[in-house]
């Protein structure tokens, strides 16, 4: 018997507009995940702009991860201009990035993922928990960098508004307020039964600094992959993480030295081998759905890390360093771990401190091939068990959500031949 399954649907409950198409015919399956979002030309927009403006523009790529883009572009430009960043300023920016990471995971799990597993009734309870956690997390961010999104408290190499012990303490208190809700959500997620799926390409990439999701102060960047450690440099990042353009989508896709791979919370936990609850350690390396386990574990561990770090900072004199304007010219790479995975910003700067070239590689772009492969594998196995088209559709959509894609970040340029 060879039944044909054709699924083509807009994926709901993900950031942005995207379409998933799955065709299962005979023994083979094919999945494509595409976006028809129009031009979001950030790499072109920043050309010719002053370096100091670029982090503000880059942070507008996505309101959800504005800190991530702000920081990645700051790191790249600081490297390009030779600006040194004070140790504690780097840590504060790290904390801000991780607060956004927690906030992202909480909202993603509570509002977007859990409805797949707990249904309509259970959903309401978790949505409330997620929103209860969301509010203090955003307040903490506001305390540290002046705004909930699109940070304004710091600029290249310097802090704009003074941060004192009381700000750090207030932020830590907000985190304590959020902790019980994050813990509740994390526990509920870790108790879920995931659909069965064997990872078709267990190939991951994450920054390898131990116990650090993000690199404190600009390079060198080492990536952990199942095949060993790779140093990511300006010279090789395009060949290590190859971006390719496909006809059917306005967002690009990535290969790791020719192969599909995944990034994100699951990759980070596998790379650092820390914070992995014993119960989920097996599925973490074999099942793509387990990214939600990883997010749950990571969110809670990060809250504790952030409280500890803020307390430590608030108990002593801050070393913020002296800011210098840097020397125009040169180029720089900024690599950070953000909620959805690895984010790379690269800039080349003119002698008059204006941007000559910009390149942004986002985690969703890196995950897409892997996600398509997993979706095809899942659809084939479900179809062979005789599930209907509608049922298969539900599962593959849940799979896409587990990867937590963000389309606004993924579509950054759609010029043919580039």
């Amino acid at each position: 018997m060879s039944s044909v399954i054709r699924i083509s649907r807009e994926v709901s409950r993900v950031a942005g507009e995207s379409t998933l198409e799955v065709v299962v015919e005979g023994g083979s399956a094919r999945a494509t995940y595409s976006s028809t979002l129009s031009l979001r030309n950030f790499e072109r927009l920043v050309k010719g702009r002053r370096c100091s403006e670029v982090p503000y523009i880059a942070s507008r790529i996505c309101g959800v991860c504005s800190h991530a883009h702000f920081w990645a572009s700051s790191l790249a430009l600081e490297q390009a201009l030779g600006i040194e960043v004070g140790e504690d300023l780097a840590t504060i920016r790290d904390v801000c990035n991780r607060l956004q990471l927690i906030q992202n995971h909480v909202v993603h799990l509570g509002l977007l993922v859990l409805p797949d597993y707990v249904g309509r009734e259970g959903f309401e309870e978790y949505a409330r928990v997620a929103l209860a956690a969301n509010s203090p997390l955003l307040k903490a961010l506001n305390t540290l960098c002046g705004r909930l999104t699109n940070p304004v408290g710091y600029s290249l190499g310097k802090l704009l508004a003074p941060i004192e012990a009381r700000h750090l303490k207030t932020a830590a208190n907000y985190l304590r307020e959020a902790r019980s809700y994050v813990a509740k959500l994390s526990k509920a997620t870790l108790e879920l039964e995931l659909p069965e799926l064997e990872d078709p390409a267990p190939n991951y990439v994450a920054l390898s600094q131990v116990n650090a999701i993000t690199v404190p102060a600009g390079g060198p960047y080492y990536l952990t992959t199942p095949r060993g450690t790779v140093e990511l440099t300006e010279a090789n990042y395009r060949s290590v993480i190859q971006e390719v353009h496909v006809e059917y989508s306005s967002s690009r896709k990535c290969l790791l030295m020719g192969e599909p791979f995944f990034v994100g919370a699951r990759a980070r936990l596998l790379a650092t081998q820390s914070d992995i609850p014993a119960k989920v350690s097996k599925s973490l390396s074999t099942n793509p759905f387990s990214n939600i386990y990883a997010q749950a574990a990571e969110a809670l561990a990060t809250v504790d890390w952030a409280i500890e770090t803020l307390e430590e900072l608030s108990s002593r004199q801050l070393r913020l360093g002296s800011s210098n304007p840097g020397v125009p010219g040169g180029s720089g790479l900024g690599v950070v771990e953000v909620p959805r995975g690895l984010l790379v910003h690269y800039y080349r700067v003119n002698a008059d401190a204006r941007i000559k070239e910009a390149d942004i590689v986002t985690p969703t772009v890196m995950n897409t091939y892997h996600m398509e492969l997993s979706a095809a594998t899942l659809a084939r196995s479900l179809a062979s068990r005789g599930l209907s088209e509608g049922e298969v559709g539900k599962y593959v959509e849940a799979l896409v959500r587990a990867y937590d894609p963000c389309i606004p970040c993924a579509v950054h340029v759609i010029i043919r031949g580039e």
């Binding site: 702009r49 002053r50 403006e53 503000y56 523009i57 960098c145 002046g146 705004r147 304004v152 408290g153 600029s155 802090l159 704009l160 508004a161």
Partner: protein, 214 residues
Amino acid sequence: MVRVYVDGVEVDVPKGSTVLEAVAKAEREVPTLCYLGGVFSEATCRVCVVKAGGRVVPACAYPVSEGLKVVTEDEELARLRRISLELILASHRVSCWNCFAKSSCRLLGVARRLGVEGLPVCSECPLYGSSCLVARGEPCLGALTVAGCGATCPRSGSPCVGCRGYVSSERVWGEAVANHYRRYLKSLEDLRTAVEFFWTYLPPNLRRYLGGGP
């Protein structure tokens, strides 16, 4: 005592009271600008207009009469109040960047309430004098951008990027460029780049003030 009806609420006020006093007693509110209880009630600003017995009158000066029916809010009143405020702003010399009033500015308060966009972000910015970002050489767009955000960015030390759009008054542009930006910035070049961040369309006159051709 005289009985009046404010938006249907029955109140008794002493004879000789103004409609504004009756409105307050009925726990309703109308915006006022020039009115200063017991000191000034010459009804010059016309921001407190209400409908009393079907006629549009200034609440601060109009006396109550028995059985008077007062309407404090409707579309026509909102429009008239806005027009009054726009006329005041048109002849007001806006230079919030070096005005002492800042966030205690009555004009700003009423403008916000009536939805009139005539004042720049500088009116809400706590930075003043040498702490002003422009005075420190930053191309902050606060003097050209519509107020209402609470000056979140300058407050954190980050220059205003103009996300709320520009103030539509040509007088404000001229005043800001001539008396603020030219005073502190070496050239307007950075300002010209900064306005392109959010403002995809620049009116020709604003472009002219910034020196970027027609």
